[in-house]
Amino acid sequence: MKTIIKIFITGILLIFFAVDFSSAGNLPRSREAVLIESTSPAEVMVRAKGIGYWEKESSKKKDRENFLLEEAEDDARKAAVYFILYGGADPLLTTESEKSAFAKIEEEFFQIDNIRKYIVWEGTDFLSRTKREIRKDKEYELYIEKAFKINKQDIQQYLINRGVLTAKADIIQALGMPVIMVIPAVKKGENPIQTLQTNPNLSHAAKVIESFLTARRYEVVVPEQQVDISQLAAAQQSLKNIEEDYSYQLALSIGCDVYITFEVQLEDVKYGTKKAIVNVRAYETTTARLLGTETGYSPAAPSPGQVLIEQAVNDAADKVLSRVMAYWKDDLTSGIQYKIIINISPDYNEDQAEEISFIFADLLTEIAKNKKFKENIVTDQTLDYLVWCDPEKYSRSTNLYRRMKEKFSEEFTDGTLKKVNINRKLILLRIEAE
């Protein structure tokens, strides 16, 4: 009986370890892959290496080469998908929580049948193929390299369904999708709208970025008409260093969450070929903080400039957009961000101005989610704050303005709080003496 129990327990343990071991084998042996290009907003071309491993027990000797090849090809497929998840400048899994959530399902995810679902196209040519003999006739490794087209969007959807990534829908519900303004980067003193209207390459690049973003369901603003930024400019008179940043002022005036600037260069290379280099920068509107910058390149080719620009934009935009979403997801935890600029009438004396600033500090402590707000500038004439609010209470800037106005009138009787301009992100106010 004891023997039977021993055999039974041993068997159970063996099965347990066997299951555990085999499941550990789903991850790719090779983690080597490089991005070739983003062929569309949903798909990327990747060049991935795969490693096949064969030992004497793996198969009959006559089947060794087919076994090695199948293993290496499957490994390359996994490595290509692994790259989408973890690799390059634009991985799908960015936060520690996402990575740890994925770790729980990675064995299941990396089952080859599941991986195949995301491979839209697979090259038949081997970009490289090298075998290594570890022990003659006993142990071999085969290294191959192939090109794959991966549907990144499908992987993303799968991860959302499995709760690894936060669905865009959740973010939209909480914050709405970020509104993104797209504007060319210009030299100091130049007007980007005018530049956009006169430079066909920039205009084309703007349209490509717009198309890229709308394909991903972002709200996009490409300011093609002059926008009145005089009020903002007046309000910011005291804010040094940014007063000449037209893009920032424009973004604030429009009220977008993020603004993207871009530069386009078309270079002559050789034999009549041209290469497009597009630099894309994403900024947080409220602070002009750089969220990400990426440079996209087209291959040098004898194609029309606009084709090359589109290719370079695809290359850069895909990478930058992931930074934008990472920022947006991160911001979701803090709340909706508003920039509040208050002009204090020069009629108030120094003590009164100080009192006003104290009132606003208290007021924002009460309003802000988790009491999170930032004083950018506090002077006798100008107060500049950044405040994060609970989206359930203050999903609109007018709600916030109303609450501030009510609270301010309760605390301060020598003046009234009036709005100068209010948009999605910016609340521009003035305090006037009674």
């Binding site: 080469e65 196209w121 090259g123 040519d125 070929t273």
Partner: protein, 548 residues
């Protein structure tokens, strides 16, 4: 006629082969030829206009291989180049390269740029065809990478003649003509700011022709060009190569075909790249011969099929690399041929010559034949046209009743034969069947003294048919060993020739002439060798000997 006749000063420097990096898939090269012959020695300069024209035309025709694109050079530029080359009597290879840069390169670059969409389009990889440019932008997907490949794939060749020797046969009006020379390949390097011409490789060969003066010359040149063509195909950059697409039993398919000039029975090494001692090396694991040639001129995705002779454990992605050789095998056989020579007597000038004892046995000998692969012409693989000569000794004694001091050589048979041969491979073993017609001669030399020295050759000839079956083992793509059994059906010959005088038994009814019967079994052990070059064309040699 165009000649370049500088002093041949440094050709020795050219006789080398640059070690080239391992190649993978073949990418088309484009070549330009200079319609001029560099006569690089005083002997070579003795060639006349017609001879030079014949060499140039033959080389041009032989080198127009489907694997190459051609960049034809304008006549006026060539004239300028040749004029400049002639001005310097001590021109070196480097100086020729500089002249090419000055006179020819701008035109070649222009031609390359003009042909770019077509040539670069062929280099676009399948991954690039899936790219943004080729899909959404509806472009063909050519990038600078392909353009640079096209620009760097251009070569120029210049034929050179270093030796020319004519020897007249002492006892006939036949000539033996020997020519020496080669092809110098230059590569156009467009990688830098300015295109440069650099020496790539020089292939040299020696070739001979036999026959009338004209025939000897043309056959020597034809063989010369053929040898150089094989040497050219053996240059790493020019070797055809492709990855295996599919393995089905002993068959492999690969993505080359008529467009690259793949022919039935062409031999390809199969192997893979392996890491050995920190280096990536191509390791051969077997070889194949082409069975079906895909028509990728008509259908770009058409594939060719090859069958394994020596098969390794193969899988898709492994490489096929061309093993260029002449399509002529030289077969050397050690033979035992059954022969019967009956007793009898021949009346000769000074006394009778008698075969006292009947000979009935196997005569040992040898056979040399050239086996030309005509598989591609017949559209049936492993079909050969054979032409050869045979030689055997019969251990037989001739006696004379009157000439006691007569000496005879050991009688021997020799002959020529020609026909068809077919092989069927089963792995490295091949079954061989052949059928030939031929003529055999029995010959003995008689020497005696009757007041003065006499030396006669007594001959007897017959024609017939021979067939054989063999089994051979392919040791390498170039070397087969085999065993063959055959049967000869030859007429029984009793008409003799004594130094040009015919002795017919009908005229000598009192005599019983010895009868020679070559019919019977033949057994041979043999080896086939497929050479990369031959010093002469075996068929042309026979044609020359036969009177051309």
């Amino acid at each position: 006629m165009r000649k370049i006749t500088p002093i041949f000063s440094i050709l020795v420097v050219l006789i080398f082969t640059i070690s080239l990096s391992a190649q993978q898939k073949y990418e088309r090269k484009s070549i330009s030829y200079i319609d001029a012959l560099w006569l690089a020695s005083p002997q070579a300069k003795s060639l006349n206009v017609k001879q030079v024209d014949y060499i140039l035309a033959t080389i041009k025709e032989t080198f127009e291989m489907p694997r190459f694109d051609y960049n034809p050079l304008p006549e006026n530029l060539l004239r300028e180049f040749i004029k400049s080359a002639r001005q310097d009597k001590s021109l070196t290879v480097d100086e020729i390269a500089r002249l090419m840069e000055a006179h020819l390169i701008p035109a070649i670059v222009e031609i390359l740029q003009g042909a770019m969409p077509e040539r670069a389009g062929e280099l676009v990889s399948e991954a690039q065809k899936q790219s943004f440019m080729a899909t959404k932008a509806k472009e063909i997907g050519i990038t600078l990478e392909e353009i640079e490949k096209v620009m760097n794939s251009a070569y120029i060749y210049l034929p050179v003649m270093t030796g020319y020797e004519v020897t007249k046969s002492k006892d006939s009006d036949k000539f033996t003509i020997k020519i020496e020379g080669g092809i110098i390949w230059f590569h156009i390097d467009t990688g830098g700011d300015k295109p440069k011409v650099e020496l790539k490789v020089a292939n040299t060969t020696t070739s001979q022709g036999f026959g009338s003066k004209e025939f000897a010359y043309t056959s020597a040149v034809d063989n010369f060009a053929r040898n150089l063509q094989v040497a050219t195909r053996d240059i790493e950059e020019f070797k055809l190569g492709a990855a295996i697409d599919e393995v089905q039993g002993k068959y492999v398919t690969f993505g080359m075909g008529k467009k690259e000039g793949v022919f039935i029975d062409d031999c390809y090494w199969v192997g893979e790249y392996m890491m050995k001692g920190g280096e990536r090396k191509f390791v051969k694991t077997g070889w194949v011969r082409v069975g079906e040639v895909g028509d990728n001129k008509r259908d770009p995705i058409a594939r060719s099929t090859a069958w394994a002779v020596k098969k390794g454990d193969w899988a898709p992605g492994m490489m096929l690399i061309e093993h260029p050789r002449l399509n002529i095998d030289i077969a050397f056989k050690i033979i035992m041929c059954q022969m019967n020579i009956s007793k009898g007597t021949l009346p000769l000038y000074e006394g009778d010559l008698t075969v006292k004892d009947e000979y009935d046995g196997f005569a040992p000998g040898c056979d040399i034949s050239a086996q030309m692969n005509i598989g591609s012409l017949m559209n049936s693989g492993q079909t050969f046209f054979i032409i050869g000569g045979t030689f055997a000794f019969a251990n037989l004694e001739f006696e004379s009743n009157t000439l006691t001091d007569m000496k005879t050589s050991i009688p021997f048979t020799w002959g020529i034969h020609g026909g068809l041969m077919k092989k069927a491979y089963f792995g490295q073993l091949a079954f061989v069947g052949e059928a030939e017609v031929g003529a055999l001669f029995f010959s003995v030399q008689q020497k005696f003294w009757a007041g003065e020295d006499y030396d006669y050759t007594i001959k007897n000839s017959s024609i017939g048919f021979q067939a054989g079956l063999g089994l051979e083992y392919a040791h390498s793509p170039d070397l087969n060993f085999g065993l063959r059994a055959g049967y000869r059906f030859y007429s029984v010959a009793d008409v003799w020739d004594v130094d040009g005088s015919e002795y017919n038994p009908d005229d000598y009814t009192d005599y019983n002439f010895p009868k020679v019967d070559h019919s019977g079994l033949t057994i041979s052990l043999y080896l086939h060798y497929t050479p990369p070059a031959l010093p002469f064309d075996p068929i042309a040699l026979l044609r020359g000997a036969a009177g051309e």
